[in-house]
């Protein structure tokens, strides 16, 4: 039956028609995880017993006809979403035994619909990374090529969905952590407008940049999940009332596209972008052109300042957000602390990995007396001009296309010794986070047998539109339907 490759709608249909029960479906995916995940290391925790209970409950919802499209469908959550009673480690030794006493808003919304939480996925420690190599629980492999990274920080979610170990997963995106792994793994991933998805229960990395979102096999599946996780939450003070309330229905028709103009940023396609990737993206742009979309060249002049600004802001916020990890109230605690300072400094030395420590120190430095204006303030000003660049562009065009990453999935270990290289791989994703805008990454082809992703970027709160555009493309193409060879069987 190839359940592993079915869309959410198809799976839901099977459940409604009682062809298969949620319990059977859950067991099916858990079996797949047990069979394949040793190759990938995409899961930190498999939630077998609880998942089966949730599935049984979902089956009763279906039997009583009180079900939703997502009822009974398994989902994996990135291990920074708090799940009540279930280990939430954030990929770190600091939280390797942390059991939250509450659910994140995203998790409880989906639980209430009857989704089945089959497990927590691996990730870069505290979401700081672009390759999922910094996790305390070991690196994650890319299902397309096991020597390669899946991207990060939501590498576990991307790997699990790409290998069809779960129909869909949640991720988080601070500097590209949903889009880049989606791109490396041939998937569709959405970073919503900042403030669209509640951050309550999402373990914080950089408060003004973090956003949760779906990693899925298609734009359609992304839309289905996003419909249910978006919305104002009174427990999140940065949650935005402006989020559109109505469901996304992907109704955009081919007739309407002739009124849509897509902007292509000049600089993006010249400097530093691999030629093959550039060609693949050009080919997909041709597909859009054939569908009737209009294209125009635009300029995002301050693009080159993005990386420094992003890393300063993110590190500064992280340095403060991670101060709470001190061995007193939760998480790791060093043995036999001699005094308070010893308790704090040794707990944190032991609990955090190198990359996290580095960014905490960079952040502390950037905020410190004498350096605040030079680093932090400057970064915030650059943030403004980056956003202004986008807003100006949106005066001329409706949406913007951009590469997701300057490369395809690189080899494990290839960039770990060169941080700058690693940071620069975020060059196309970070501007979107700084500007707070929504962006979707979709698979558009291959380069050297590795997936290539392309971003569709929109103005504030245009998630519905960018998903519609992607959906139209996915009706004309089939990149999103491909399954990595090693996992394309039951």
């Amino acid at each position: 039956m190839d359940i592993y490759n079915k869309s959410i709608t198809e799976l839901s249909d099977l459940l409604s028609k009682k062809v298969i029960s949620s319990l059977e479906m859950t067991d099916y995916f858990i079996k797949r995880i047990k069979l394949f995940d040793s190759k990938l290391n995409s899961f930190i925790t498999i939630n077998e017993d609880e998942a089966r209970k949730q599935a049984a409950f979902a089956d009763s919802m279906i039997a009583n006809k009180k079900n939703h499209l997502l009822t009974g469908i398994p989902i994996a959550h990135k291990d920074l979403f708090s799940t009540k009673g279930l280990l939430t480690s954030c990929g770190s030794k600091m939280l390797e035994n942390y059991i939250p006493p509450y659910d994140a808003t995203v998790v409880s919304k989906l639980n209430n619909l009857g989704m089945v939480n089959i497990g927590k996925t691996n990730m870069d420690e505290f979401a700081m990374g672009s390759s999922n190599e910094s996790s305390y629980f070991g690196p994650v492999k890319n299902p397309w090529n096991l020597d390669r990274v899946p991207g990060g920080s939501s590498g576990g979610s991307a790997s699990a969905v790409a290998a069809r170990l779960t129909p869909i997963a949640t991720g988080s995106d601070t500097g590209g952590s949903i889009r880049q792994p989606a791109s490396f793994c041939g998937l569709t991933g959405l970073k919503p407008t900042y403030g669209s998805v509640s951050r309550y229960g999402m373990i914080a990395y950089a408060s003004s940049l973090d956003q949760g979102g779906p990693i899925a096999k298609s734009a359609e599946d992304c839309a289905i999940l996003y419909n249910e996780i978006k919305g104002f939450d009174k427990n999140d003070p940065t949650s935005n009332h402006e989020v559109k309330q109505n469901n996304i229905d992907l109704r955009l028709s081919k007739d309407e596209v002739k009124n849509i103009t897509i902007g292509i940023p000049k600089k993006y396609f010249s400097e530093g972008l691999d030629q093959n990737i550039s060609n693949v993206i050009s080919d997909s742009i041709d597909v859009f052109k054939k569908m009737g979309f209009n294209f125009k060249e635009i300029s995002l002049p301050n693009h080159s300042y993005t990386i420094p600004a992003y890393y300063i802001i993110a590190s500064a916020e992280a340095s403060s957000n991670l101060s709470r990890y001190d061995g007193v109230k939760f998480g790791h605690r060093c043995n036999d602390p001699k005094n308070l300072i010893d308790l704090y400094s040794r707990t944190r030395q032991e609990g955090f990995g190198k990359e996290v420590k580095k960014r905490i120190m960079i952040g502390a430095y950037a905020l410190s007396s004498g350096y605040y204006d030079e680093y932090y303030m400057r970064a915030l000003k650059i943030r403004r001009i980056i956003r202004d660049d986008f807003l100006s562009a949106f005066n001329e065009v409706d949406y913007i296309f951009a590469p997701t990453s300057p490369s395809t999935a690189f080899k494990i270990g290839e960039k770990t010794s060169n941080a700058t290289d690693m940071y620069l791989s975020d060059i196309y994703t970070t501007p979107v986070n700084l500007a707070g805008l929504p962006a979707l990454s979709i698979p558009v082809g291959y380069s050297d047998n590795l997936p290539v992703g392309m971003q569709i970027i929109g103005n504030d709160f245009t998630e519905d539109k960018i998903l519609e555009i992607a959906h139209l493309f996915q009706k004309e193409t089939d990149w999103h339907l491909h399954v990595p060879e090693a996992f394309s069987h039951e």
């Binding site: 942390y98 059991i99 939250p100 006493p101 509450y102 900042y194 403030g195 003004s208 009174k234 003070p237 940065t238 935005n240 009332h241 402006e242 301050n302 080159s304 300042y305 990386i307 420094p308 600004a309 890393y311 300063i312 340095s319 001190d326 061995g327 007193v328 109230k329 939760f330 790791h332 605690r333 602390p337 308070l340 300072i341 308790l343 400094s345 944190r348 030395q349 420590k357 580095k358 905490i360 120190m361 960079i362 502390a364 430095y365 410190s368 680093y375 303030m377 400057r378 915030l380 000003k381 650059i382 943030r383 403004r384 001009i385 956003r387 941080a419 700058t420 700084l434 707070g436 709160f461």
Partner: protein, 93 residues
């Protein structure tokens, strides 16, 4: 140059113990990082206002009400507590 003394100072602010190996590692990594962000200096930002949140949002507060359903069992997450208090090594004031 982000030297070892500087790392020690910053590590103290960040409350992270660093041994000698770490000192070298962080010193070179952070120096490298600071070099790459020097490009921020290239642009004149004197007329620009910092942007703290995007898109723009207004503060939403809540009414002054006590949530009687709020759980107070968070102490159970602590690695060192006696059910009543969190316990730390004695602090000398």
């Amino acid at each position: 140059m982000f030297d070892k003394k500087k790392i020690k100072d910053v590590a103290q602010l960040a409350m992270i113990a660093v041994d000698d190996n770490d000192l070298s590692y962080f010193s070179s990594e952070i120096s490298e990082f600071l070099k790459t962000i020097e490009q921020m200096d290239a642009i004149n930002l004197s007329e620009i206002n910092p942007l703290y949140h995007a898109p723009d949002m207004s503060l939403k507060g809540r009414e002054d009400e006590v949530d009687i359903d709020a759980k107070n069992d968070g102490i159970n997450c602590s690695p060192n507590h006696n059910g009543k208090y969190f316990i730390v090594p004695k602090v000398i004031d």
